[in-house]
Symmetry: C2
Subunit: 413 residues, 2 copies
């Protein structure tokens, strides 16, 4: 029992933390509560109940099923539900009429076959990517309504009355949902997408900075900052996994009316492109941090040569990312942005120069040393090791180059 209590307490603790960190989700909960309480009024207010009767149930159902977190999702589900019900309802009534004309013997056969065929086709259509992305829910509602109508066994004239009531209760439910989700602290999918993109940029900057700093500082700094650092280094992982969220947000955002700084036909597809580029960049950072982690040992003196230049490239690219994030956030073009891109390129050039001059010098020293040795003794010394040690640094440089190139692409995109 103690274990159960502990688990429940831990669960509540987690829920509380989530509520504190994202109060919007708590507000969404209350919004659903309000919508449901309002729709329950239909049952308590006599005249309304007399009109709709048992069909008022569908209003409650609609509210529960259709009310989603973002306005776009709510709109898309509402439209899907209304369209699906309407289409399936009319088709169902048509099939019913045909079946009832063809005699009592054939009626169940025709109805059964039509249910089988349409349900199979609609279920299969839900796997087609373009349908799945936008009309998945509508297809489900279509199947549901069609089978309910065709098996209901009522006369056609009664069915039409029922269909009207059903549609009007659904209309009431959906309009209530849309009204509440748009008027009480609305959560726009477009906004969320926007926020996701510029946060992801910041996260990339953070983890790029942290992983390079980690590589170069390691030995001087103490352990306590390590954990904090690794959390920052891992920030890119969120970026890597954000594809599904971005796509669904962009899908919902298309349904949304103009709001705030966003117009109709806001270029949501551009956001998806930027998102894809950001993920590529995150991929690079993950490889970089992997490479840096696995090659930590040795060559402290070599690291020293490039430390300054690499840190400069890193901090300049982070600047560009942050500038970019700011300019996305405010949806303005930043004049600073091009300046910092220039700085970034310059820093990269410097780093490449540093690398260029470094091993040649080292090898020359060693070659001269070995030549000197040859004069003294006949034992030959190997010249290879320094090159081997330069490889990780070369990797660092070329990965940084690649990251810079991808950031530039993002800037251009």
């Amino acid at each position: 029992v103690g274990g159960l209590v502990a688990r429940v307490l831990r669960f509540l603790d987690k829920a509380w933390a989530l509520g504190v960190s994202e109060p919007k989700k708590v507000i969404h909960g209350f919004k659903v509560g309000i919508a449901l309480s309002l729709v329950s009024l239909f049952y308590y207010v006599r005249p309304l109940y007399d009109v709709f009767g048992g069909n008022a149930m569908w209003a409650v159902m609609t509210v529960v099923v259709v009310f989603e977190y973002t306005v776009g999702a709510t709109l898309s589900k509402s439209i899907n539900r209304a369209t699906g019900t309407f289409l399936a309802g009319s088709l169902g009534i048509g099939v019913h009429w045909v079946a009832s004309q063809s005699g009592e013997k054939f009626e169940p056969i025709i109805l059964g076959i039509s249910v089988f065929l349409l349900a199979s086709a609609a279920t299969f259509s839900r796997f087609i990517p373009s349908v799945k992305a936008r009309f998945d829910y509508g297809a489900m509602i279509f199947i549901l309504t069609f089978s309910l109508v065709s098996v209901s066994g009522y006369r056609v004239d009664k069915l039409i009355g029922m269909a009207q009531q059903r549609l009007s209760t659904i209309a009431i439910g959906t309009s209530l949902c849309i009204f509440i989700s748009m008027c009480i602290s609305p959560i726009w999918a477009g906004d969320e997408l926007h926020r996701l993109i510029h946060r992801n940029m910041e996260k990339l900057a953070e983890s790029l900075e942290a992983s390079v700093a980690n590589y170069f500082k390691d030995n001087q700094s103490g352990y306590p900052s390590q954990e904090d650092n690794s959390k920052k280094t891992q920030a890119y992982k969120c970026v890597l996994n954000s594809k599904a969220t971005e796509e669904s947000m962009a899908n919902f955002a298309r349904w949304e009316p103009a709001h705030g700084p966003f117009n109709f036909r806001h270029p949501w597809k551009e956001y998806l492109k930027i998102g894809a580029l950001l993920r590529e960049c995150a991929c690079c950072i993950e490889t970089l941090s992997g490479c840096l982690n696995s090659e930590k040992q040795g060559m402290e003196h070599l690291k020293g040569y490039l430390k300054h230049a690499s840190m400069a490239v890193c901090s300049h690219s982070c600047n560009v990312l942050r500038e970019l994030s700011k300019s996305v956030k405010t949806t303005t073009k930043s004049s600073k942005l091009y300046l910092s891109v220039g700085e970034m390129k310059f820093a990269l050039q410097e780093l490449q120069n540093a690398l260029k001059s470094l091993p040649t010098q080292l090898i020359l020293e060693q070659v001269l040393a070995s030549q000197a040795n040859e004069n003294k003794s006949t034992t030959k010394k190997e010249c290879a090791p320094p090159v081997m040690e330069v490889i990780p640094l070369a990797t660092l440089v070329s990965l940084l180059t690649e990251i810079v190139a991808r950031i530039e692409e993002i800037v251009d995109g």
Copy 2:
């Protein structure tokens, strides 16, 4: 009109292609059709209709909503639906009883407040990750049933009868779904996860091979193979985006009973770990192919030195991946696997040696040349360029090293 027809034709064409490439999805469509036709029988068979009456609607609804692509998903939704309905129904009847005891004036107030509070709490709970992953649908059904029961306005004794009917129709619907999804060509989530993992391994091997081959061959081969190649090179992208699918499959697989080579408590979490490692590997490959693409120009003669060794590393790592895929596929330990890991390591060592000896020789040549020049004239020649040209190769080598290390991790995992 012509445009519309063309679009419809294109849509049908796409649907047909999908059906041909994945016949399982067509079969799933037919399974849903069969389930719905069977459940419609309730309406046509008189004695059954007399027992359940209008409530038989809930059986149809259950089938439409609960029947999912995989057995695990169907089971999880069924259990969620039954549990949610049962909990909310009992709670609703309890609240109803309390409200009816407290007089006509307070009844609607108590009911309204309870709907508001419970709906808000349940909606919020759907955002908590652990609930969202496994009980999202159950929470929705809970809200739905509770509000329907508490607003229904019937007397409590009538409610209990209704609740019984509701539950039994849901039981009929869910058991029919589970029966059909398990008996007619079942699609197990565990199987799908298994297939996803070993296919991803093959895809990684394919794109690693293609991107390295692309880098080294480019100039000799003609254009026609280019497109085919780039398709293969892009194969890793599927791997990068497979996280969400893997997680949901693993979630569903947990609900599934023993089947085929899989037992209860099959280590689905291990699959997730392997999946994560594969994604890291895919990240590396994406960086590698990015680096190779951006550094295609020049240094053909340098490439020549390392071509043989790099191709060897690449083909051996592909061998390991394919061996691994085979051993996952058959769920047996392959004795060849360790052999090919050894070969891979050896090839990597050779490549590193090749790289080690390469630039030193080149530079030595040049140094000697420049010394010779110094003797002849006072114009100094630069020694730097070769090192700069070696960088991409060094990157290639260290990325390959990283990929090898990650493959080893996968082998150990």
